[in-house]
């Protein structure tokens, strides 16, 4: 009887082995396509970085890195740009890191699900999605504009640029810090609370130290984000030509990303400025990719430690 059922089922399956072979071929083709997509991404990264290295490397010399720009930025070195980018990313980090970590602590350690939490999360997500040029305009109207025009009157300066960038990287820091806090096992907290420590003592003495490497990774990532940002500093901090090192936080500065853009607009002789642009781009992506690589390595070490 059961033999008969089996036979009839097999009868209903049309040409089984051949069909299976076809299904396997379809699968192979699609999987090949998926792999192809990965290869295209890899190729894009390699080609872009490759071009910058190939054409940028010859432009880089000690004088290029440590010299002052001349002829309106169309020749000479890029030291002020490097220093300017350093100030801007450091400044924005100093402003955003404490706030971001504190916000993450609230969201992960204190907040209970509800409307307030939902609104805060929604704001963070939307802040992360605001176009960078809109941040630039906001910074211009709020930080740069003089007092009688409704702003804070800081002018086009490191201060205005850092504040604008700080708002821009805040969601990144909150996100990565929260992930870091999530990776701290609850048993740590329970042990500390069980010993009679208050919540704040637990957070400060137990949770934060354990989350520190993750927070560090996040801050490296956001420094690199701030360093590469152009549109947000265009109207708030960047000067296209200012061949001196900043002396106060109210000075306007040259910055690497803005320099790349400004050369491509202001140049009348592309043959002369292209090497400068490639060189500047190479310096910028070395900084940014270098920081990202450090962050990636740190994080994978951290994850390995946690999974042990």
């Amino acid at each position: 009887m059961s033999e008969m059922v089996r036979e009839s089922i097999i009868d209903q399956l049309p040409n089984e082995p051949a069909l299976l072979a076809r299904r396997r071929i379809v699968e192979g083709l699609w999987f090949g396509l998926f792999q192809g997509a990965v290869l295209i991404n890899g190729a894009a990264l390699v080609i872009i970085v490759g071009y910058m290295v190939y054409y940028g490397f010859p432009a880089i010399s000690w004088d290029f890195l440590t010299g002052m720009p001349t002829e309106g930025g169309l020749a000479g070195g890029i030291l002020p740009c490097i220093v300017g980018t350093f100030y801007l990313s450091l400044g924005s980090m100093l402003l955003a890191l404490p706030l971001g970590v504190a916000a993450a602590i609230y969201l992960h350690e204190y907040a209970t699900p509800g409307t307030i939490m939902r609104v805060i999360r929604l704001s963070i997500n939307n802040l992360a999605g605001v176009p960078s040029v809109v941040f630039g305009l906001f910074g211009m109207a709020f930080f740069v504009a003089s007092r009688d025009l409704g702003g804070l009157g800081m002018g086009v300066s490191i201060a205005s640029g850092s504040l604008t960038l700080a708002v821009l990287i805040l969601p990144v820091i909150i996100g990565t810090s929260e992930e870091a806090l999530r990776s701290v096992p609850d048993t740590y907290r329970e042990a500390s609370l069980g010993l009679g420590a208050t919540k704040w003592q637990t957070i400060f003495k137990v949770v934060l130290p354990a989350a520190l490497p993750g927070v560090l990774t996040g801050s490296i990532l956001s420094i690199s984000r701030a360093a590469g940002e152009t549109a947000a500093i265009m109207f708030t901090a960047a000067a296209s030509y200012n061949p001196q090192l900043a002396e106060s936080i109210f000075d306007e500065v040259m910055a690497l990303p803005y320099q790349i853009y400004s050369l491509s607009v202001s140049s009348t002789d592309p043959d002369a400025t292209l090497p400068l642009q490639y060189g500047t781009s190479l310096v910028l992506i070395s900084l940014v990719l270098g920081m990202n690589l450090i962050a990636i390595v740190l994080r994978s070490k951290l994850r390995r430690k946690l999974s042990k």
């Binding site: 792999q35 894009a44 602590i105 704001s123 109207a141 109207f235």
Partner: protein, 307 residues
């Protein structure tokens, strides 16, 4: 000395304050966008000279953007269409590329490969937009001129390709999370029924992660529409509604970034009109983000039992 309990409450309040900064920041951004944009529509008084505003309808649907001509015209339809076309075209490239990369990473890649590919996608995401714009300008544009019989190397297609590679990492990382969180029971059930791995991906995994995939696509598009440096440098800059993918266009962020430097602060229509464009741009990305958030919450992926 304050007692322990009060100190704890105080500290909690401080953390809450820090968390609220995001709301305050978003609120301030909206306030400044609106307050600087409104004179575009209601007119303003600069140095004793009264300027009349332009109606909201004419602003959005006007076909001419001529801010510095003798008789300036303030229609941003060409800029909106520039943004829309560039975003659509880049999405056509970025969505399949991003989703397929995500499927490969979450379902197919052996651990060793994944450990190389994931950082690679992250590095692609971290490339500064100005470098990608410069690459499009210095490398892709000459190649395009050589390959096709066209007048401009900086055009809609060039900008869309560059934008696509900026959107791919966003799409990939969110889509990968979504695919990864599909419960193993579902996949095992399908495999046990005799489906091949690909059939399982197509008929079980992808439908189950559809909400996450939609979020990924929406956020990727939102990233493209707001991206500034790439469209500023390689879209061509012509404020005309495009007829072909080789036409130069001037998406909204490009217009703002290119023209803001030439205006005088708070004194002319051009300045306010650029803020109005920024407001339109902000509203669009805001809606995209709300939509993504809504989908993520409403169709939250949950465990196998409820699916």
């Amino acid at each position: 000395m304050i007692d322990r309990k009060r100190k704890e409450t105080l500290i909690k309040g401080m953390f809450f304050g820090a968390a609220s900064i995001s709301i305050v920041a978003l609120g301030l951004i909206m306030y400044f966008l609106v307050s600087e944009a409104l004179p575009t529509f209601f007119g303003f008084d600069a140095m004793g000279e009264v300027h009349k505003g332009v109606s909201f309808f004419d602003f959005i649907f006007g076909a001419q953007w001529k801010p510095v001509s003798e008789h300036p015209q303030w229609g941003i339809l060409p800029l909106i269409m520039g943004s829309v076309w560039v975003t659509l075209l880049s999405s056509i490239i970025a969505i399949p590329l991003g989703v397929m990369t995500a499927i490969y990473l979450a379902e197919i890649a052996p651990n060793k490969v994944r450990e190389v590919v994931k950082p690679m996608v992250e590095l692609l995401a971290s490339l500064p937009s100005v470098v990608i714009g410069f690459f499009g300008l210095a490398v892709v544009a000459p190649i395009m001129l050589e390959l096709f019989d066209i007048r401009f190397g900086v055009n809609m297609l060039n900008a869309s390709i560059m934008l696509a590679f900026m959107a791919v990492p966003t799409i990939t990382s969110i889509a990968e999370d979504a695919i990864h969180s599909v419960p193993a029971e579902l996949k095992e059930g399908s495999l046990a029924l005799g489906a091949t791995h690909f059939e399982t991906i197509k008929k079980v995994v992808l439908p189950a992660s559809l909400s996450g995939l939609s979020t990924a696509v929406i956020l990727g598009m939102s990233r493209s529409i707001g991206e500034t440096m790439v469209v500023l440098m390689v879209a061509g800059g012509a404020a005309r509604i495009p007829n072909s993918i080789f036409d130069p266009v001037r998406p909204m962020p490009a217009s703002i970034a290119a023209e803001m430097g030439e205006t005088s602060f708070g004194l002319e229509m051009h300045y306010f009109a650029l803020f109005a464009i920024a407001m339109v741009l902000f509203v669009i990305t805001f809606l995209f983000n709300l939509l993504a958030d809504h989908i993520a919450h409403k169709y939250k992926q949950v465990g196998a039992a409820t699916l």
